[in-house]
Symmetry: C2
Subunit: 471 residues, 2 copies
């Protein structure tokens, strides 16, 4: 399946494209902002993820002859189809760096180019960035609650949403996981892969001990034994201890055992004691079975003796939100700022081409983001975006612009960043976020505000539009 | 991205494969069952979906030279890699038909073949079938509550989980949706595509009326106008009425208007009255904005004047479960039935190669599924799988076997079924399910049971294994 086709879009993008084309407006320059409104998982932040893949797609996207024939069958105008035959994305993209933390309502990406191009690429950008940011955020929360000393293994492919399993493994690694079970993701993104064995392997033998022995013999350097097929404490762990001792005689070491059912806190402590008593304190304990950040938090509170958490379904589908509400809104057309009116101030967009500045305190921790118009310096104060009486002074000397040009005329401006680099950046960026925004219970709301210039522009356009529509 | 690679699997499948291979057991015949344990969405059933894609993958799957090089770098045994160079799936698949309704614990697919092949394909089968069945089930519930007279449009691609958007559109159509916004899905699966316009299109104009006029002019035969950019009742609908009248003068008809914010029940009724008063009773009203089966149920109760429901995010990610818990369990190896022991009877599998019979009443409605051993006739009674004292007599004269051979020696036995055929079959199959299993509140639990032969086999193996493990 080739996903580099521009057909991976919503029909209405092409319908609008035809309207622009037939009216001769398809080349008019437009700017769209990508941002989200609500953090998932009751998180205090979102970890931005998916940019490299999005840029890759933007560089490659086109319509094949077969695609155009299909659009012709669907009744599209022949002149418009001819135009699409040479379709490429030729616009400019400014973006927050992948692996950076981002907050509600502040633009994360801005896309500027001929309006038809900007519309056609909208659907894929949202699809790619919403999903990967969702999963990276979930992964970062699991890392946060697990602590740096635990190993985190992602193995959600079997319950991932179809082909999204590939992207989920990438985003999980960027969010802080150490390994994936997904072999294709390992190859595609050069991330470490790990895996043990299934119950089926044990069941295929008449007895568990022989199954363990054969596995150890055929995997002398990376043997992890699944101990709960028949009875964890009475069969699985004693047999694993037997095999670990046999391995020692050959100069090898059993890497670990895996618990996959039952009370993981109780079983892990019992297993630790049995292993330690047998002189096998080096054997690690891995645990799995519907884990997520909440279960891991509980296991940590109970001082479960678990070294490796294996997390699947809940991570890779981003349970319980399963979607990030990112949107892509027109903010400028033909050099004029544009706005959508709503009774709900939160549903109105911020007009005009913009920049976002992030402010730090003297300790290097980020404290606020201010949205202003492009080309302006970092403001020395900002207003709450929806409660304008709330204002906050800012120190421009400690501000950094977040949106950087990453693509010009449809070409990347920098080499592709490796997934490992992005993951390392994420660690650094999360380290600059104060603890109160990372905590699970009622995280402190990070401050995002508007410069006076953008506030005035919004108020002006709002009055103008409301005047026109007669209310 | 090529997903037809056998690398789209969990590493442990290959780790177990190497153990089997080095012990000379890789060719040993095994049978695995695919089934699920818990219905999502508090539904009374699951609509089985994804089989055609799974069979397609099984026919095509292989390792490329590049894949093998990657495995070699990962430390796999060179003999095993040589074996994988010729890897193909050569097994037999028996399956319930795609578009059939299925219930917890009854096998939906059985896969028989050399154990290494069965293991390597496990991950993809689960990934594909779990996700598509989840979405088809969600779609069927939305269809059920909407009624047959409403049009249902799926447009979730922007919030779908990455590449899974393609599969989500397919499954939504099979579950009862009429159209998708996803152009690639339309082309790939020959399903109808629909789309209107975004707020951005309206905002790109200085005024809404000109935007509407231009769209109507460039889409004379399929014009649906989005009316909430500025003010639905004071601007959007009056402008749409103006344009509808102008279209009439050219012999054209406005297809519809779309509401995308505000109180959809109130606005739709007000819009209906305004359109009717203007002599435009043929203009349909579409509504969208975070719809799902629960919101639609409420809108129906309020008698909202909505003809077309547009459903996105909540459908395509299968909110709020986001995953179906389908599993793939070894039930036979080297002609011997196999079992996994658990303190929880629900976590034990049913051993042996099996068939499932579905029983109907005199009105053609299905009333129970009985699991028995392959080769046996439909039983005349069954026991509850986990509460053996509960028994139920059955009439074998009204039973049909559900598992049919669909693939032998790695080749399909029938031509590919079209998505439309499967969707039509789903309508028929859902029609045979009594209403009490389809209702939203406390659906009646459909009865799935065991024949005496399989019950005895389970009890025998359980005693044997518990004896061995010393408990």
């Amino acid at each position: 399946m080739d996903f580099n086709t521009a057909l991976y879009t919503d029909l209405y993008q092409l319908a609008m494209g035809q309207a622009y084309f037939l009216k001769g407006k398809h080349g008019t320059e437009a700017t769209f902002d990508y941002f989200y409104r609500k953090t998932p998982f009751n998180s205090g932040y979102v970890l931005f993820c998916g940019l490299e893949e999005a840029l890759d797609w933007l560089e490659k996207v086109s319509f094949s002859r077969e695609d155009l024939d299909y659009l012709s069958e669907q009744g599209f105008d022949s002149g418009f189809i001819e135009y699409l035959a040479d379709f490429k994305f030729t616009g400019t993209v400014k973006s927050v760096a992948e692996g950076e933390i981002v907050f509600p309502f502040a633009p994360i990406i801005t896309v500027t180019g001929p309006v038809v191009e900007c519309q056609i690429v909208e659907t894929y950008l949202l699809n790619c960035l919403n999903f990967q940011s969702l999963i990276a955020t979930k992964a970062s929360r699991i890392r946060y609650i697990s602590g740096e000393d635990k190993a985190l293994a992602e193995f959600g492919l079997r319950r991932a949403q179809g082909y999204a399993g590939l992207q989920a493994s990438r985003a999980s690694f960027i969010g802080g996981f150490d390994t994936t079970s997904n072999v294709l993701a390992g190859k595609t993104f050069q991330i470490p892969i790990t895996g043990t064995m299934a119950h089926a392997y044990i069941q295929s033998y008449d007895d568990e001990l022989t199954a363990f022995r054969d596995f150890a013999e055929t995997h002398p350097d990376n043997c992890v034994l699944l101990v709960d097929t028949y009875n964890t404490l009475n069969s699985g762990i004693p047999n694993a201890i037997t095999v670990a001792r046999e391995m020692e005689k050959k100069g090898k070491k059993l890497i670990g055992i895996r618990l996959d059912s039952g009370d993981l806190a109780y079983l892990s402590k019992a297993a630790r004691k049995m292993l330690d008593d047998a002189g096998l304190s080096y054997v690690k304990i891995a645990a799995s079975n519907q884990l997520d950040e909440h279960v891991i938090r509980s296991l940590k509170e109970q001082r479960a003796a678990i070294d490796i958490f294996g997390v699947g379904t809940n991570l890779v589908v981003g349970h319980e939100n399963a979607a990030l509400d990112g949107v892509y809104k027109l903010c400028s057309f033909e050099d004029k700022p544009r706005i959508k009116i709503s009774e709900n101030l939160r549903k109105m967009n911020f007009p005009g081409q913009k920049q976002v500045y992030r402010y730090f305190n003297g300790n290097g921790k980020c404290i606020a983001d201010a949205i202003t118009l492009e080309g302006l310096e970092a403001p020395d104060g900002m207003a709450h975006p929806f409660e304008p009486h709330k204002r906050m002074p800012l120190n421009p000397a400690l501000a950094e612009p977040l949106l950087q040009e990453v693509m010009r005329e449809g070409k990347r401006l920098s080499p592709v960043r490796s997934v490992r680099d992005i993951a390392a950046a994420a660690v650094k960026n999360l380290g600059r976020l104060p603890e109160e925004h990372k905590r699970f219970d009622f995280p402190h709301v990070y401050k995002v505000g508007l410069s006076s210039e953008i506030e005035q522009m919004r108020n002006h356009l709002k009055s103008e539009k409301l005047g026109e529509s007669g209310t």
